[in-house]
């Protein structure tokens, strides 16, 4: 019992001593600051995209670059699938994984997900001048094939038109992320098809690093992230 109290006292003292609080269980923040930031990227446009030559682009890639700049770090990109990147992140071979991760991602046993920094809605939107009843049953709606929204639309009774790519020129209601509304000149219907809380993943127990990343992410505003996503969509 006595050593427990001693441990508590030691923890308090190190806090009072002006060290960073909380501290990493390892040394991630110290290593990254002025060093190398190893970022795992999994493909999820427009959040992230890895070109054939290995160059990553996308909204979260831009954000990671900003974070690295802030910490005076050089980025080393490591593209891969989530199942390949997360175990590497757990063992601190990577410092950060980005790729449109959702707060409901099933990786919490391996890694630590940050506090959600932005919530993006997926909406059914219509070209200007078109009127569509709020009830979608029987209405033809265009949606990108192979996405969860196909099922969501079907549940609402809509007549699903699966498309290889949504361009906004389909002349029917389409399912898009809210960041595309302005670019495509569409008007969203009243209710959202789905909402996603976006997070990044960091190694578990690297709490100083996690707090640093979260502080950076929480400073971002919703319009800012929307703008980055729209830019990423517009890029070839």
């Amino acid at each position: 019992m006595r050593w427990l109290v001693a441990a508590g006292a030691a923890a308090l003292l190190s806090f009072a001593g002006g060290c960073t609080w909380p501290q990493d269980a390892g040394t991630t923040l110290d290593d990254v600051r002025g060093g190398v930031l190893r970022v795992g990227v999994s493909e999820d446009p427009p959040w992230t995209h890895v070109a054939d030559d290995g160059t990553p682009t996308g909204a979260e890639v831009r954000l990671a670059q900003r974070l690295a700049q802030r910490l005076g770090a050089r980025i080393q990109w490591c593209p891969g699938s989530e199942s390949a990147l997360m175990p590497a992140l757990k063992d601190r071979v990577l410092d950060l994984v980005v790729g449109g991760l959702d707060a409901a991602a099933p990786w919490t046993a391996e890694v630590s997900l940050t506090r959600p920094y932005v919530t993006m809605r997926t909406v059914v939107a219509v070209p200007p001048g078109t009127t569509v009843p709020d009830d979608l049953s029987g209405v033809r709606v265009g949606v990108r094939a192979g996405t969860a929204e196909v099922a969501a639309l079907a549940r609402e009774g809509a007549q699903v038109v699966a498309l290889p790519e949504v361009t906004g020129r389909e002349r029917m209601p389409v399912v898009v992320g809210e960041w595309r509304l302005q670019e495509l000149g569409l008007t969203p219907l009243a209710h959202d098809l789905s909402r996603h809380d976006h997070v990044w993943a960091v190694p578990p127990g690297e709490n100083a690093w996690q707090v640093e990343v979260e502080r950076f992410l929480l400073e971002l505003s919703h319009p800012e992230v929307t703008r980055l996503l729209a830019e990423a969509e517009a890029a070839p």
């Binding site: 609080w21 190694p203 996690q210 929480l218």
Partner: protein, 323 residues
């Protein structure tokens, strides 16, 4: 002799008992609030999960007490000729097993976390526009739940001793376990903040071991009660003095040549048989037996439902060292 008599606590004990019932309702309210509060602050942290599950289990002993309270005073009837006092013993067993299970859970959970070298992540939180480390919020919640647990636990231990109520005692143990784990979680979170990932699991391990020891002791005591062990004091630390005192007092009666007594505990009360050997040429034997029954009841409020049988001699057939 009057049978199927209702058992009532003496007035001063009845007041204490009503107080205990009130305390138990408060305990349930407090645990419900604790569970809700922790559910909000829990986040992704594994560190607080033990404390949360503990709060859920913490409802079992007071609930067992309150359920038993509904039954224990019912008058004996043809179907339950011994009355309902045992409901208290059953509640005691339920409470004890809960404490034991909780200790076992905390120990295995923290051992697993140590073995897998699990590093608990604690990030930022935003409350009313203020951003700060989630660990501080966890510590605040833990400290807030500790205070009522300490106060309730202390009040209950005192009442349990006065009422000879083992359920209440097991519940007080549970409250003690509760604030100890909360304290361990506070130290654990502080350790995590200092970058020492293992403090959390180690603190929980030590506390879990302590809770498990309590659970083993009370469970043994509860099982022994149901096995009709001789009455013991409320914390199970030794035999109760009442049977020996009563037997001595009965033997002191001038018309009693010899006597033998066995008592068992049924909840608050002691129930059993008393054999007496009257001296030769004792007159008015029935009157004397009736007086003796009243004497035994008045001897202590816990003596209830004592069957007295006059016999011509008592042979104790004890051929081994079983005691």
């Amino acid at each position: 002799m009057r049978v199927y008599g209702r058992f009532e606590l003496p007035p001063d004990k009845a007041v204490l008992h009503r107080k205990a019932v009130r305390l138990e309702w408060w305990t349930i309210a407090f645990f419900a609030a604790g569970v809700a509060l922790l559910a909000v602050t829990l986040g992704q942290s594994q560190a607080m999960k033990a404390a949360w599950i503990e709060d859920m289990l913490g409802v079992v002993p007071p609930a067992a007490f309150l359920v038993a309270d509904r039954y224990r005073n019912r008058r004996p009837n043809d179907r339950y000729p011994y009355g309902y006092h045992r409901s208290v013993s059953i509640a005691f067993l339920a409470g004890s097993v809960t404490v034991l299970g909780l200790g076992g859970y905390v120990v295995t959970d923290s051992l697993l976390r140590l073995i897998t070298r699990e590093r608990p992540p604690i990030g930022l939180v935003e409350v009313f526009g203020y951003r700060f480390w989630l660990g501080w919020l966890m510590i605040a919640v833990m400290l807030a739940t500790m205070v009522p647990a300490i106060l309730l636990g202390r009040a209950k231990v005192r009442l349990a001793r006065q009422l000879h109520d083992k359920v209440l005692f097991a519940d007080a143990e549970m409250n003690r376990a509760d604030w100890l784990t909360a304290g361990a979680a506070v130290l654990g979170v502080l350790g995590i903040g200092a970058g020492l990932w293992w403090t959390d699991a180690v603190a929980a391990l030590v506390i879990g071991g302590d809770i498990m020891r309590d659970g083993i002791r009370t469970t043994r005591s509860a099982v022994a009660d149901l096995m009709d062990e001789r009455p013991s004091v409320v914390d199970g630390s030794g035999p109760h003095r009442l049977p020996d005192e009563l037997l001595a007092a009965v033997r002191d009666q001038e018309w009693v040549a010899d006597a033998w007594l066995r008592l068992r505990e049924e909840g608050h009360v002691f129930i059993g048989e008393l054999l007496v050997v009257p001296r030769p040429d004792t007159d008015r034997l029935l009157d004397r037996l009736a007086t003796l029954e009243k004497f035994a009841r008045d001897f202590n409020w816990k003596v209830h439902d004592l069957v007295i049988a006059p016999v011509d001699r008592i042979e104790v057939d004890r051929d081994d060292d079983a005691r």
